[in-house]
Amino acid sequence: MAMAWVWTGMVVLSLVFGLFTGSLDAVANAALEGARSAIDLSISMAGIMCLWSGVMEIMNVCGLSSGLAKAFRPVLRRLLPNACRDEETLAAVSANVSANLLGLGNAATPLGIQAARRMARGCGGIASDELCLLVVLNTASIQLLPATIASVRAAAGCQTPFDILLPVWLSSVLSVFVGLLTAWLLSRRGRRRP
């Protein structure tokens, strides 16, 4: 429903602004142009997106994701000690993290949900500290190869669509770090004032 408000708001505001600034012709053109450009964009990014999804799938089949999942286990045991006492939760969380890293959103979400369900057991509908951490980990993205973004950049005429890789990694790491730190600080504050 949120998107209905956002969309309606944008369209109505455009009409109001167009009337006030006398740019209604441009607004009308932009509406049709926007719809057309959506298909243009999709077609020009489709090839690159398919290619990188294919490469990611090869890596996945080669065992890269299970290797990554194994590599993350010690870190996750530290981060979520209670949840990871349960071997199956640990498996789901580590697979979730590695799928996120590989940009396999379709695989990551069901795994994350499976982990969240197990962690929510016996909580009476109240999120535990560790469940909050898991969710924060999933709302902050870390992707090794941002294929969609590279495809859009290429579609916009960029010759080196992957040259933003290092800034993306740096910014992702900082954002995940601050997210986890904030969650940790807020959970401590909550405990002191029951």
Binding site: A35, S37, S42, M49, R117, A120, A140, R153
Partner: protein, 173 residues
């Protein structure tokens, strides 16, 4: 020859050779993955049509500029280009909306401009926070989400500020 002209062929050849070494049907996996990529794209096309229409109208009417000017003083303080305001507002709410706004920014300012790069990095280092929280807590039957939302939004805000900072660091403003 730039570094990325080496990276892409190297990555393709390396992954393929590694897969063959592991006795994996490399070509089958490639096409299967490509099919998956196409499915993802097909699923976002309808919302892209809706959102690029709205974003285009929003920009043409002058409302986009007004919104950016409104938030400019605060964003300058954080070192974020005000042109990215609409992207930051829609990012936590809608993934395809953010994709549409970022595409608009890259088209208007160029993919290799400061703003175009910041938009790309913002898109790559943040997530659709509200959607993710709704899906995770919804399916786990959690109704008291406690500090998950503020912490996730802090992560988003950090991602936005860090994106602008990282682009300046690696490319200059």
């Amino acid at each position: 020859m730039s570094l990325s002209s080496l990276v892409i062929p190297l990555l393709l050849a390396g992954v393929a050779a590694y897969g063959m070494g592991k006795r994996v049907d490399v070509y089958g996996a490639l096409t299967h993955g490509a099919e998956e990529g196409l499915t993802v794209l097909l699923r976002i096309i309808p919302s892209l049509v809706g959102l690029l229409t709205a974003v285009g109208m929003f920009r043409a009417s002058g409302a986009m500029e007004w919104l950016s000017t409104l938030c400019a003083p605060l964003l300058k303080l954080l070192g974020v280009p005000p042109e990215a305001t609409p992207l930051m507002l829609i990012r936590p709410v809608s993934g395809s909306g953010a994709l549409a706004v970022a595409t608009d920014l890259m088209t208007v300012y160029g993919p290799d401009s400061y703003i175009g790069r910041v938009a790309a990095v913002m898109l790559g280092s943040t997530e659709t926070t509200f959607y993710t929280i709704a899906v995770y807590f919804g399916s786990a039957g959690i109704h008291k989400t406690r500090h998950a939302l503020p912490a996730a939004l802090a992560a988003d805000l950090t991602g936005f500020i860090a994106s602008a900072f990282a682009v300046r660091l690696f490319f200059g403003a």
